[in-house]
Amino acid sequence: MHPELTEFLQQMFNALTISGVYALIALGITIVFGLTGIVNFSIGQLLTLGAFLTFSFWDNDRVSFFLAVPLAAASVGLLSVALERAAFRFTLEQPINGFIVSLGLILVLQNIIIEFWGTDPKAITPPFTNVWDVGGVRMPVNTWFVILVTVAIIVLLFVGLRYTRYGRAMRACAEDRDAAALMGIPVGTVIAGTFAIGGALAAISGGLLASLYPIHPYVGALYLLKGFAVALVGGLGNIEGCVAAALLIGLTETMAAGYLAGEWRDAYTFGLMILILLMRPTGLFPARGRLQETLQ
Amino acid sequence: MTGLLSVEGLSKSFSGVHAIEEVDITVHQGEILGLVGPNGSGKTTLFNCITGFMEPTRGRIFWRGAEITGHAPDQIARQGVVRTFQQKMVFPNASVGENVEMAWQGECDDGDDGATFKTCVDILDFLGLAQVQERLASDIPFGHARKLGMGLALAANPRLLLLDEPAAGLDQEETRELGELIVRVRGLGITVWVIEHDMPLVMSLCERLIVLHAGRKIAEGEPTVVARDPRVISVYLGEKFARSSAAH
């Protein structure tokens, strides 16, 4: 194969991987926002916590990686519900306060992680170590596994939101919380459930990332920002838009970093986000509903 | 009579739906003009377009002969066209006195008229709010809040005051007071244009009346004449009101 084509395909493969992870983080952010109007910045630390919990559960194959990730997701999901019950639910009337609460939680969670795991990076030996080489394009099986898992979760989320009772209740709450309550939907439970999903998605992203790259305790901030860039570009609250934006940003970032200057990788993403938000303050695919007003 | 503000062929549509269509209106210096019409007839949209909160799809707006179409709201307000709101009409976390101070813009930009009020206290006295000036704006009764909303507009030194349903939510006594207040405002040399649903108030207050229906102007003139207009009767005022006003 032509070496430039090989290089291009390699970049595409990398872009696809990172897009999947960004999509997972952004979906967690977007559904919580869509339902409550709260911008939860502590998602980055939940991701980091997910990564380190996965690492500790796994602990050199004491527990299989395939089990460690769900365990971490469940733990972080529970923690997220606890935080919602203890703090976020009191800020539903003034979502900007929820945002500030989440800034406080960043400090709390970040330093809990450092207290327990220290500041050294941690790496998980991936469950699959062989690498496929297709015409010079190197595709580690583990990366394929990560892509597969992210796609599966995204599909599951789509189906769940569209066809299950919980999904319908959630969409009703996102449309109009008061009306949903009048219709007998347990709004509080639905919101708590959404926080659980948001936390679990962040933790899964963290666990998967830990199998791709070594994870250090400060990694959350960066992925949070990428997740937010994706969620905002896709139109906060819009799930389809989120996936499309994840692909857009993942591709732009990887391609620009590959073909232009690599050290500006993050700047490309933020630059793209700023440009898109200036042209369309509600993102490329704005969700309809009252919450969008808070973004205008 | 001089045209203070004139609207020429103004249209505004939202994704294909026409909120206002080809409206021509002239507001004369010193009058109290009424704007009525059923809900959704485009009254507030018209005010929004005039005060710069919305950009008209077509048409032009002239203020004292100069075009102001598409100008920013604050720019239009500083030229003397100031409007009030139906809801969220005051700054909630500030006292009544502070509210007026925040709106106080001192002398008017164009200079030739000078300020109507010399101080913020004058405005509070004028509105009869002096005794509640220490209280938080979110704590005062609704009737007071309405007056305060008008006070904020007055503090911005208007030549033309656009009032958006000032009597909505007021009881009879408060409505009567409001009518007197509007007359006193006009007495200061401020032209008043008011959207109102309270027909007795409109009939007693306004010298001229414009009726909007489905975004179009369907009648204009003296209130008693307009009220007898068969088109107006059929779309808005209804048989009952037409009969009762004919009896007077």
Binding site: F99, E263, I274 | F53, A72
Partner: protein
């Protein structure tokens, strides 16, 4: 005993307690107290912390203008701070400019940075604004990190030739810490006077109008966009000036993701304002002092239990808790308590209660949250009057 009570009563009639306890006197004492820090603090470490606190006060006061007054949550404050620090460090190293030039240069540079960020960012509002400022802040940090020729990249800049004097103030070799402290303190006082004057001016009234109700502000002729830019530029100026002192104090600045210039570090300043009180002029000052000296105090009491991590953890919790339970912060709660105290004391005295009883009643009402004490409707009404 009888005469003692009698004379006390005549005394309190002549000088009502509320006047004697007027908040102005203790406040003035508290405000002057920091001047004597070099004499009070036994170690240079504590004095060094006092310098840090004074620098934070300047940044936090700047953020106060744009966040508390104009209601715009900027997350770019630390980047603007960094812009000031880098500007002054480069001017100092390359041209050896005196402090007198560095301070306005850094301030104006950061103000310009704020305007350049604000021009696009203020086209959006709310969360979008916060996140766009965040993104700009990270881009600025990346520039400092990657533009090796100018900024020496991730290694950072070490201040080579420390300035020798600022007017009569000598701080040539950094051994003159008290001198440097007093200079920094003078500027933190200036920043306090600055936000006081802004709050009193029509500028401040316009900011607050925008915070309270943007649409209404527009309708009465306030150019919301321009005034937001002005508020942001002022906050940038404060941050830039603080950057000069930070650069002098640290002697070395670098742009890492965990540096004080990273966007996330803005949370610290937000924390100060919220803990101190976002509705009070002294809020940011009190908050900065608490954030800097709070951990020291705890460590002095509990040994060295409170590591940096743990104090950060506690402050994060405090930030969340203060938003949920005491949105007006320390200054706001104190003021509310003080007002309750004075009002209760006055009404109780007017009813002819014994002064000691009045004092105790007023004190308990001012300090115990209303939900923990029995309700007294009649007194409540009087207290309001």
């Amino acid at each position: 005993m009888v005469t003692a009570t009698g004379s006390l009563q005549s005394f309190t009639r002549q000088y009502p307690l509320s006047d004697l306890l007027s908040i102005r006197l203790p406040l003035a004492v508290l405000l002057i107290l920091p001047v004597f820090a070099p004499a009070i603090f036994p170690t240079s470490r504590l004095l060094s912390l006092a310098v840090t606190a004074a620098i934070y006060v300047i940044v936090a006061n700047g953020l106060h203008v744009v966040f508390s007054y104009a209601g715009q949550l900027s997350l770019a404050q630390t980047a603007l701070w960094g812009l000031g620090a880098y500007t002054s460090a480069l001017l100092l190293n390359h041209f050896g400019l005196p402090t007198l030039v560095l301070i306005p240069a850094a301030g104006l540079m950061a103000a310009l940075g704020a305007v350049l960020i604000g021009i696009p960012a203020f086209r959006t509002a709310g969360f979008s604004f916060a996140i766009i400022t965040f993104a700009f802040a990270e881009i600025m940090r990346l520039i400092a990190n990657n533009w090796d020729e100018l900024t020496n990249g991730s290694i950072g800049i070490t201040v080579l030739d420390p300035p020798d004097a600022f007017g009569p103030v000598q701080f040539g070799t950094f051994e003159h810490l008290p001198n440097f402290y007093h200079l920094t303190l003078a500027f933190s006082y200036l920043s306090l006077i600055g936000i006081f004057l802004i709050r009193q001016s029509s500028l401040g009234k316009n900011f607050i109008a925008i915070r309270e109700n943007e649409t209404l502000a527009k309708s009465i002729g306030i150019n919301v966009y321009v005034y937001k830019l002005i508020a942001f530029a002022i906050s940038g100026f404060f941050a830039g000036v603080a950057g000069v002192f930070f650069m002098y104090h640290q002697k070395h600045i670098e742009p890492g993701p965990l540096s004080p210039f990273a966007a996330f570090a803005t949370i610290q300043f937000l924390l100060m304002i919220l803990i101190g009180g976002r509705r009070s002029m002294l809020g940011p000052t009190i908050g900065a002092i608490v954030v800097v000296f709070g951990p020291e105090l705890v460590n002095a009491l509990l040994g060295d239990w409170l590591t940096f991590n743990r104090s950060q953890m506690i402050f994060g919790g405090l930030l969340a808790l203060s938003v949920l339970t005491a949105p007006n912060g320390i200054a706001g709660q104190t003021r509310d308590g003080y007002n309750t105290f004075v009002a209760t004391l006055r009404s109780s005295r007017e009813r002819g209660h014994h002064p000691v009883f009045s004092f105790l009643l007023a004190f308990s009402r001012a300090t115990i949250p209303s939900r923990f004490r029995p309700r007294d409707e009649s007194l409540d009404k009087e207290a309001q009057l």
